[in-house]
Subunit: 663 residues, 2 copies
């Protein structure tokens, strides 16, 4: 049992490491680490199950610092408890280029950082996915292998962001009782007192979504411990509203917004040293305090070893399957299943929407990849994300494989990231492509982290018809392609859909978005290839009859138009080839030779895509012909719309002829 005095000194170690690091960097956020140090100390010394020497232990408790600007809290904890990745040099080089201790916690920089946070509310919503992953894997592998908690430290900003409501209401609905959110209730945001902009009773709000709530003094270690004890016994997720003083210990700035996001300055830090009785030099933690922290870091080592024994004692199949899933490897036989399925497709030649061919591919995938967890933001029948294998996950029953995420695109994407980050699960979730805008901040974080979240975005153009311009994506392909490390794939038929799914599942370090049609499309890939042609991003679908005068590049539903235009141009004696471009990002990653070969030397290059031109110039050149959209869509029947906006084979042929006449 830690004495109160030792608790205080251990918490002060966090406070001074944070103050000193921010001061040295001349940049950063000391207020939160100082205010939340007591909470973190109790959590990390008495509750959290983790092992700094085996940081990726699958059954560890997860800790998510949703208020990511308080990164020095986390770095201090990782250093103090003995994580190798974060030594004192890392702390001293806080926020410097090339060091692990980035301004905000970056997943992948160091073990112990469970997710990238900073954009507010994201960590909280990730944690819903993590807590759900725990329950799903528990349902499959039992208490012996999966039985842990997810703890979140969230700030006022996290709770004000709308995404928090999506996460809270989903977690409450699903009764994720092993999720514990501690709200650093310090009454301060950047602009000043919270009362400038909010007067929400947060406990009441959480209770409205089925949460257990507790209010405590966030500087009272026993109150913190009692609350965490109570939270662990709850049958519902728990919010602990912990009243704290931001910048606790700073003599003149504590409790104000001055301590939030700037170095305190030498004088204030010196005052804090006096006020808190801390006489160590900057970055020096007294050895007895550091020892106490290191001992705390060893607390769960025995628990971890016992877990390893249980894993070792499990039957070989269970152990193998658990380890495979946690490694993120796909099951053996996955590739062959896709190849067999593609072969069948090349015979069947189905004329279906790519949202349907996505479902057909998923039916194959979900049969051989048990770790996929599907879902949709209340568009299940439209996104075609549910297959015969995916029973619903329900409150208290996590044996299913399908999440009814509700009308919560943003919360869905963030929860999916949490499912992925937890390990053992490959999540995919659907909405309309236009609503990728709602989910975008989380989709970006998936890219930044480099994780396998798979976004199924149907109704991918004006082709959705009557719902009109609010629902018709025109700029979304370009906007998503703009995100680094994000494979935006737009298959042209059922074979390409299968290949895109294969790529998405095999891309362990890149999230994917599949853009899929509402309308039916013909089979275009009728020659079976075992090779995944989409994996090169672009490939020649139809060659020209002789030296090509025209190269037409197209994606998804417009490949059909390109093929029709080619037929007509060839009929008129104009040698034309068609290149299908299912994924810009993968095409860019190819060798210069491959790219040059695919782009080709035809004097006329044209792109056809029912979206805006932005991005296409890299392939067709700024003098290339473009058949697509240059503004918002309209409400109407699909055939009227394609004609109205001039996205037809006739328009393509006319544009080529005009260009050839001019030349």
């Amino acid at each position: 049992m830690t004495t109160r005095e030792m608790h205080d000194r251990m918490a002060n170690a966090i406070r001074f490491l944070s103050m000193d690091a921010v001061e040295k960097a001349n940049s950063g956020h000391p207020g939160l680490p100082m205010g939340a140090a007591d909470i973190a100390t109790v959590l990390f010394t008495r509750f959290l199950s983790y092992d700094p020497h085996s940081p990726n232990w699958a059954d560890r408790d997860r800790f998510v610092l949703s208020a990511g600007h308080g990164s020095m809290l986390l770095y201090s904890l990782l250093y103090l408890t003995g994580y190798e990745d974060i030594d004192l040099d890392q702390i001293k080089n806080f926020r410097q280029l090339g060091w692990r201790t980035a301004g905000h916690p970056e997943w992948g920089h160091a073990a112990g950082i469970e997710t990238t946070t900073g954009p507010l509310g994201q960590g909280l919503a990730n944690s819903v996915g993590m807590a759900l992953a725990e329950r799903i894997l528990n349902a499959r592998f039992g208490d012996d292998l999966v039985d842990h908690h997810t703890y979140v430290l969230a700030g006022d900003g996290c709770l004000m962001e709308g995404i928090s409501q999506e996460g809270i209401s989903l977690a409450g609905h699903l009764k994720l009782n092993k999720l514990v959110v501690i709200w650093d209730d310090n009454n301060i945001s950047i602009d000043g007192a919270i009362s400038l902009s909010d007067s929400t009773d947060q406990c009441k709000r959480f209770e409205a979504s089925g949460w257990n709530t507790l209010r405590i003094d966030g500087h009272d270690p026993e109150a913190i411990a009692d609350a965490l004890d109570a939270a662990k016994k709850s049958d519902r997720p728990t919010l602990i509203a912990a009243k704290t003083t931001i910048g606790f210990g700073a003599p003149s700035k504590a409790g104000t917004n001055k301590v939030h996001g700037s170095p305190l300055g030498a004088e204030e830090i010196s005052g804090a040293r006096k006020a808190l009785g801390w006489d160590s030099e900057p970055f020096v933690v007294p050895s007895d305090v550091l020892d106490a922290w290191r001992v705390a870091g060893l607390r769960a080592a025995k628990e971890r070893r016992e877990w390893e024994k249980r894993l070792a004692a499990a039957d070989a199949e269970t152990r193998g399957e658990f380890e495979r899933r946690m490694r993120g490897d796909l099951p053996e036989g996955f590739d062959q299943a896709i190849i067999d399925y593609k072969k069948k497709l090349s015979e069947d030649k189905p004329k279906v929407a790519t949202r349907k061919s996505s479902e057909m591919a998923l039916e194959v995938i979900n049969a051989v990849v048990p770790e996929t967890i599907g879902g949709s933001a209340d568009l299940t029948g439209s996104n075609n994300t549910k297959t015969s294998q995916t029973n619903p996950i329900k409150p208290g029953d996590y044996t299913g494989r399908y999440v009814y995420y509700g009308i919560r695109e943003h919360g869905m994407a963030a929860a999916m990231n949490g499912l992925t980050l937890h390990g053992g699960i490959i999540p995919y979730g659907g909405t309309f492509l236009t609503f990728s805008d709602y989910a975008r901040p989380s989709m970006r974080l998936a890219s930044l982290m480099g994780i396998r979240s798979i976004f199924v975005m149907t109704h991918d153009s004006i082709g959705l018809g009557e719902d009109g311009p609010t629902h018709q994506p025109v700029e979304h392909l370009a906007a998503l392609r703009a995100i680094p490390n994000h494979n935006v794939m737009r298959p042209a038929d059922a074979v390409e859909a299968a290949e895109c799914w294969q790529i998405a599942l095999e891309s362990t370090k890149t999230p994917s978005t599949l853009a899929l049609t509402r309308q039916n499309l013909p089979a275009l890939r009728v020659q079976h290839t075992a090779e995944n042609l989409c994996a090169k991003g672009a490939y020649e679908l139809a060659p020209a009859s002789k030296d090509a005068q025209v190269s037409i590049f197209a994606t998804g539903s417009e490949v059909e138009i390109a093929v029709a235009a080619r037929a007509e141009l060839e009929k008129r004696g104009i040698a034309t080839r068609v290149v299908s471009v299912p994924c810009f990002e993968l095409f860019e990653a190819q060798s210069a030779e491959y790219r040059a070969g695919i782009i080709g030397k035809a004097p006329v290059r044209m792109a056809i895509e029912a979206g805006i031109r932005q991005g296409w110039d890299a392939i067709i050149g700024s003098d290339g012909l473009f058949v697509g959209m240059n503004g918002f869509g309209a409400s109407g029947r699909i055939e009227d719309l394609y004609k109205h906006f001039g996205i037809t084979a006739e328009a393509a042929v006319a544009a080529v002829e005009k260009r050839l006449t001019k030349a």
Copy 2:
């Protein structure tokens, strides 16, 4: 007083027009109009102040159909009450190309549509801005001229979207008691019962944010009326939870998700005709029912005329100012104030961050344009959005001109759209450019509607430094440029910042985003011009000493780098010009001649921008040189980052020399 029987028949008129229109279109959402018909009938016949014959009456009550998929409810009401824009032909051509009755209500298609809805939650969040606009204008012009309510019909989807929490908590905090949200509580979403995905106690949730709440039977006209009466007396915003049956009247499908988003089919409609005792042919409203509706439409005409008398009786200055604001015209003297200010800048040559020069411009603007309402999503000191003229708006005191929006980027953008749509106000609001992702769905709607919302996005590149890649926009300029009808402006110095602000204020049909730096930039426009050079999107800032070998295009903070590179290249005998490109969209709108002249004929074209390349090929060609980002940023000092990512004058010079050597 309408009898219950007449009420029912009037409500049934909405139901059958909706059923018939969806059936004829073979597309659409009959469930909501049928379920909410009683609510709408009571609201439009007994409460809402509006005049179909003077639909833009400034002091009308606003009605927002946040659940925009129920568009036939609104179109039915507009037709029945006698709005000229929506006649029976419009109803019969529901969802057809070229007609006003789009799949979702489109602002600008017809009077009476107060905002574009469909993306869920947006209308609700718009309404917060509308209700706030009413209070702000009331504070300025008094009860005589501004005294109306804002009514919203929202569905479960609106309430599940995170944006609703941002709107609800802001409205509750600001005590917008003339805002009344009626929740069509029908227990059904697309996937099925709401219980699949949510179990939130919505009344409790709204109460947690300071709302008055009432629960009623949404099919009981007197209960609806009593609730609306009570709402009008509330000192807080009111939620009326109205329990309804989706698809009320459909014999076998009512109360299920089958009635939500598809035509009912002939048999079901025939059954509904029997069940509801409606024997009219499709699209025919019995004349006594239509008469009753038309009489209801005349209800407020007298009130409107009295208001006009009060306006006419107001002193000339007040009247003139009110009318000017409602027209959206800028005050006389605005242009001259900008010109004078630019002249001063060309003398002062301030070296400041563009976020600061934006503030300086706003200081000038806010002094002459009293209708600007500033704000920030809790980054006031970072976004530099507050000037000496803008006192805070507080709960119950709306005399100020600044909104502390809280950490609610999405809610802010949607509320800004509501402020704009209400009329009489020009809103601008700030956050970091990277968080434009959070606000994006509302920013898109501003573009789709073509309204003057002005987004102030600071910390616009890796130049923000230590906060790292979560906070560093790299793809955001490209992603925002992708949105049609959206002026993304990135000024290079204080003069350009002033010009960009002038453009933003003068663009009444296009929203603007200003991308602004955290770091200081030198004055580059030192020759005063009265002409707004930024208005052409791109202009030659520095000519080459002779026929240019190199054209360098740059924006914002990288124009300084371009100018330095030019100096070095010229020193080495390589004639180089620099083109500043503050706005792609405006440049695209110029004549082909102007564009060709600005792009020029230099054999080497280079762009410098601390973002991704996407979009630049249109200016520099796919073989142009690009100095910028090709992935996410990093946490570090600005000088380290620019060097690390190779965005320097030296790197630019080296790339040019390499290209020239090769050629």
